[in-house]
Amino acid sequence: MSATLKVRVWRGTESGSYQDFPVPRHESQTVLDVVTHIQRKLDPTLSYRYACRVGMCGSCAMTVNGKARWTCRTHVSVVADGDRVEIGPLRNLPVVKDLVADMAPFFDKWAAAKGRFKGTATRHDDFARVQPDSPKRKLVDESIECIGCGVCYSSCDVVTWKPDYLGPAALTRAWTLVNDVRDDAQRERLEAVAGDAGCHSCHTHMSCTERCPKALSPTAGIAGLKRAVLSAALKGEL
């Protein structure tokens, strides 16, 4: 292990090039530490995005040595190719500048997949009681930890091939709400995810499941949506 990392960082927007920076190597150094070092010590014009630094906010995702990662919890020792680290913006999203991807299309698709809870209760109603060990509540548990980092969306080839495709995160959000017994927008949601850009476009590459930093499986949620859509169609509800 050499004392200096050879770091290549994307500069520019959609068109641009990688720029090389030498960065001192430290123990337990994260990729976010590397980017921060470059911006604070070597080139203050470098743009990147982060907030919590502890894997909660989902804002620091980038492409590191070709794979989408949450950079705050990715150790250099795990991803470096010898002493080389290549850092670029997330794929499948417009590049604002350098390492900052425009997340608007990503979250627009959450809205398109009806990823918003629609309840019927008012402030005058009692709390909804959902048994923690009920089958549907357990299914909610499987995807509710999504932090919206965009790693799955960036890793998905179907998004690349079919830009309208809602993508793993939006469909996972829809699956969570499909299993929310308090939600009152089930039919609209299934209609939203049953179309050409919805769950049936998934090719089961499983890159989302492979790369999700929270170890969730959007593939499982998408398979669940396919079954839910099939069931509703057979019952004549869609």
Binding site: N65, K67, R91, S155, D157, H205, M206, R227
Partner: protein, 115 residues
């Protein structure tokens, strides 16, 4: 910006490629298969000469390849059905390994004449 091969280098993606490539190859093979069957309509001698041609070692070898393609496509399809319809979570890589094992088992059984 688009991903390159590095983002795709994981077993489930390889399984997708194998399933897709085997599907395309089998589709391309089908016309040849039907043509071979059609030889029987041209008379016994014509079919017999075709069947003699299939005894050629290279044809035999490619038959093993064909069986491997069929087995890979079938095992890959079963894997997809399991993913779509069974409540899997942590065992999808076991499923992948099982699909690969079934493919190799069929190929070996054919190659070693274990029928």
């Amino acid at each position: 910006m688009r991903n390159d091969f590095r983002a795709r280098s994981h077993p489930a993606y390889w399984a997708f490629v194998v399933h897709r490539v085997s599907g395309v190859a089998l589709t391309l093979f089908l016309p040849l298969h039907f043509w071979a069957l059609a030889q029987s309509l041209q008379g016994e001698a014509r079919l017999e000469s075709f069947l003699r041609w299939t005894d050629h070692p290279l044809v035999k070898l490619s038959e093993i390849g064909l069986v491997l393609l069929l087995a890979a496509h079938m095992a890959g399809g079963m894997r997809l059905l399991a993913i779509e319809f069974l409540p899997w979570r942590d065992w999808h890589k076991t499923l992948l390994t099982a699909a690969a094992a079934v493919t190799v088992a069929f190929g070996l059984a054919f190659a070693l004449n274990l029928t």
